[in-house]
């Protein structure tokens, strides 16, 4: 008999380096899900895309700048952005602080629609 699939948790982070506390608390949600061995994805939207710009945040000040590149080591399943949103932000061809999965509109809708658990921070 196979084990049931773990709950899926999608955390949507929409605040950038200017609101570091909220970013930290979005990461808290990610860590809590990982501590329970849930399947956790982190979707960056809006101002949160700025976490991906090298040098945009002081690495000593911003928790997101430090944490994003190592979340996969802690078991994060997916770190995603909407491809359209990345283009609109002028970051489609830019070097980013960490590799991200770029979702087209259909994949983005699927992620949001199929997530069993969805949290915004």
């Amino acid at each position: 008999m196979t084990d049931p699939a773990p709950p899926q948790l999608v955390v949507v982070l929409a605040t950038g380096p200017a609101k570091a506390l909220r970013a930290q608390e979005a990461l808290d949600l990610v860590y809590a899900g990982l501590a329970l061995d849930w399947s956790v994805s982190l979707l960056l939207r809006g101002d949160a895309l700025r976490w991906l710009i090298p040098g945009a945040a002081d690495p000593d000040a911003g928790p997101g700048a430090r944490a994003l590149p190592v979340l996969a080591d802690f078991g994060l399943q997916r770190l995603c952005v909407g491809d359209d949103e990345l283009r609109a932000a002028g970051l489609a061809e830019a070097p980013l602080t960490t590799p991200v999965e770029r979702l087209d509109a259909t994949a983005l809708a699927t992620l949001l629609g199929e997530a069993d658990r969805l949290l915004y921070a």
């Binding site: 709950p7 950038g16 506390l21 930290q24 809590a32 329970l36 101002d47 915004y120």
Partner: protein
């Protein structure tokens, strides 16, 4: 909610996750959602700026209308009201005791919420 035959179905048990500050529209929407869902609400989780909803009351003694409504809903429907103590400390507050309020860490809150098939989140806009 109705099934395909048009029979009224009981709403699924739900957990409401509130991260908006009490002066933000999303917090008012959360409380309206909780009041409307009635007994279906099994758990309300305060995290981030959402903990200020409880702290405003516990530390100043002045209950906001929003806290009064949330507390009234809790007394009526008996849901568990959890709040993250780390979020409180980050905002410079000690997690003061209050009847009906559980200061528990996120993993424990998540485990409780995992039993609810419906999660609803009320967060501030970016």
């Amino acid at each position: 909610m109705h099934d395909v035959q048009g029979n009224k179905q009981a709403p699924a048990d739900c957990a409401v996750f509130l991260t908006a500050a009490p002066w933000e529209a999303a917090a008012f929407a959360a409380v309206r959602d909780i009041e409307a869902a009635g007994a279906a609400v099994k758990l309300v989780l305060l995290h981030g700026d959402g903990v200020l909803l409880a702290l405003q009351h516990t530390h100043t003694g002045e209950a906001s209308d929003l806290w009064t409504r949330l507390d009234r809903a809790r007394r009526s429907h008996g849901f568990r009201l959890g709040a993250c103590p780390v979020a409180a400390r980050r905002r410079g507050f000690l997690p003061a005791e209050r009847e009906g309020l559980d200061w528990v860490g996120l993993p424990a809150l998540f485990e409780a919420a995992a039993a609810c098939p419906d999660w609803r989140c009320h967060a501030p806009p970016p």
